[in-house]
């Protein structure tokens, strides 16, 4: 690298400059290690995605590891039922950051045709999900597309400090069960109607000690 008189940066051909964030994201997106949480039919299509014809190795995501400690992408393939959900949550918590989750198939995403007493109606009610794959079951091509899209997302949003994971505002929308806040904690500064109601409510409760 040499700086000439006009303070212009000249780089040799084999050096290029990037942000560290982008470099980290580039590394992460091209070395996804999936954790196949395969429960039902979608699991067979997940196997087909990894097997001879479709070959997931072409996209750098073929290193299936069955220990959650080694993985950074959880693919939930198949319906998750009441007895299985605590197991799913535990495995998700065992995975290290940065981690992502693909909900593969209609059953994992919404419960699918199984609107019954035992089936959880979408895993996104209970764990965060980054990418949904429609289909019952999705074709291997669809899963590969989802992985490519997830790679794009990691490249776009990834940071080396992992800030993308603790933006509370972004994640709050994904919660199915909204935490019920006390009426007094609502931000009413821009809503005069709400301000009046809150004042009335506060009067009814009485002065705080």
């Amino acid at each position: 690298m040499a700086v000439n008189g006009s303070s212009k940066l000249e780089l040799p051909e084999n050096v290029f400059v990037s942000k560290l964030d982008e470099l980290a994201s580039w590394c992460r997106k091209n070395s996804l290690w999936p954790m196949p949480f395969a429960t039902a039919c979608c699991g067979i299509e997940l196997m087909a995605t990894g097997a001879s014809k479709h070959d997931l190795a072409r996209f750098g995501a073929e290193v299936f590891r069955f220990s959650p400690r080694q993985c950074d992408l959880m693919i939930v393939a198949g319906r998750v039922v009441m007895k299985m959900l605590p197991v799913l949550q535990r495995i998700w918590q065992q995975m290290h950051e940065p981690k992502w989750c693909i909900s593969m198939g209609a059953c994992a995403s919404t419960g699918g045709v199984f609107d019954t007493y035992a089936v959880v109606q979408g895993i996104d009610r209970f764990i965060p999900v980054d990418m949904y794959v429609p289909g019952c079951p999705p074709r291997p091509e669809q899963l590969i597309q989802a992985i490519i899209d997830l790679q794009d997302k990691i490249q776009r949003e990834g940071t080396i400090t992992g800030r993308e994971f603790d933006t509370a505002g972004r994640q709050a929308r994904k919660r199915a069960l909204v935490e019920i806040t006390s009426p007094l904690s609502i931000d009413a500064s821009r809503n005069p109607v709400l301000q009046r109601e809150l004042a009335a409510a506060a009067e009814a409760i009485g002065p705080r000690t």
Binding site: A40, I44, A48, S52, V81, K83, T116, Y117, C136
Partner: protein
């Protein structure tokens, strides 16, 4: 209870130290999320060193209320749910379900439909055995065999996709018929498969059947005697590997099996290796069945006639005949549909995994009052603690793979 060799006397040492022998056992949890369970089973193993003293299987990690849904969907709608039952051979479940429904309703299928269903059921058997034997190979360290098997499954997927538009969950059958008739392209693809598959099957046999590592890991492991197989209600390849000759295709001929020439593959050893061999041989017999049925495929309609008011008439019939219009109207209206007797009946087919039957209670309308599935996997999984007792930990995956337990059929 000690099964260790004499020189390693656990009980004596335990009594010296004033502890019970069970203190030397250790417990290993296996599943419900583990690659060798293939799906969602859980085993709690009691080990003495590397030997399995006892195994406590647990299931229900995929129980989704299939039988409860069966009470809310009509006979034609429920076929989509049966797809998801034994999901490595969905089309065989379709055939089983509508076989049971037609037994309840008393429908006689057309000759062409019998043959068409026979062909797809046998192709499903081949794809099932490819995966189950491939999984045994995978678990005992033979990855190439698995990849060979999966490639052939893709060929069968392709045939099914040409046939009915879905490669995996086919929902192919209908009451009194099937959703799509065979087209010349389908027949051509099946012929091509018949021509190429035997060569691959030979290659696969050469890879594994006399492979020293594979034989050592499966021969003599998980032995099931004939008496125990009957006592514990085993069916299908698991029972036939133990010398039970029962095969519903021969014993209660349904569909077109009575017309076709084939043999029932049996073995007497009852171990994992015998189960592998039986499945390999069954694939060859299935090929014979498909070849014969395809050559003798009768012409004529594939669905029952419109006078029976069971299968939807073709567009041609709806637009050009009054009977077709009326039949279409009656079947489509919510308050019409089939006339179902207030009766109960059981009918089963020889599915790839064993006897797959449905006990259906009819209550007048076209929804079953109760749709009980007789799942072979439950009874085979119940065999597991009996088979594994006294073997080593590494045999667990071999036995589990050879039983071919499919969680969705297990838990329903």
């Amino acid at each position: 209870m000690s099964i260790a060799p004499a020189e390693y006397d656990v009980t004596n040492r335990a009594s010296e130290e004033g502890a019970r022998s069970e203190d030397y056992l250790w417990t290993l949890n296996f599943g419900p999320q583990h690659p060798a369970t293939h799906t969602t089973l859980r085993l709690v193993l009691k080990l003495e060193g590397e030997r399995v003293v006892d195994a406590m299987p647990e299931m229900g990690y995929l129980h989704s209320g299939f039988e409860k849904i069966g009470e809310h969907l009509t006979f034609n709608q429920y076929v989509t749910v049966t797809d998801r039952m034994n999901y490595i051979s969905p089309i065989a479940n379709n055939v089983a379900w509508h076989h049971a429904v037609e037994a309840l309703l008393g429908i006689d299928l057309t000759p062409r439909c019998r043959y068409v269903r026979t062909i797809v059921a046998e192709l499903a058997r081949i794809s099932d055995h490819l995966l189950s034997n491939g999984a045994v190979g995978l678990d005992t360290g033979a990855f190439t065999f698995f990849l060979y098997a999966f490639y052939q499954r893709e060929v069968i997927y392709d045939i099914f996709e040409t046939l009915c538009g879905a490669r995996f969950t086919n929902s192919y059958t209908r009451v009194g018929g099937v959703s799509q008739d065979f087209t010349p392209l389908v027949i051509e693809k099946i012929r091509a498969f018949l021509k190429t598959f035997p060569k691959t099957l030979d290659d696969m046999e050469r890879l594994l059947t006399r492979n020293r590592i594979f034989v050592d890991r499966t021969k003599g492991v998980g032995v099931l005697t004939k008496e125990e197989a009957i006592n514990r209600s085993a069916t299908g390849p698991v029972a036939r590997a133990s010398g039970v000759t029962r095969d519903l295709r021969k014993d209660e001929p349904y569909l077109a099996y009575a017309d076709l020439d084939f043999k029932v593959a049996c073995a007497s050893a009852g171990d994992c290796y015998a189960r592998y061999l039986v499945r390999m041989q069954e694939m060859r017999e299935s090929l014979k069945i498909v070849a014969q049925a395809l050559e003798n495929l009768p012409s004529g309609p594939v669905n029952v006639g419109i006078d029976q008011r069971m299968a939807l008439p073709t567009k041609q019939q709806v637009y050009s005949s009054i009977e077709g219009t009326i039949s279409h109207f009656e079947l489509s209206m919510a308050n019409r549909g089939f006339e179902v007797p207030f009766e109960e009946s059981y009918a089963a087919i020889e599915a790839p995994n064993g006897e797959l039957g449905f006990y259906i209670v009819g209550d007048g309308d076209d929804t079953a009052y109760r749709a009980r599935c007789r799942p072979p996997s439950v009874l085979h999984f119940a065999l597991f603690p009996f088979l594994i007792r006294g073997h080593t930990l590494s045999d667990v995956v071999a036995v589990l793979g050879s039983l071919n337990i499919i969680a969705a059929e297990l838990d329903r």
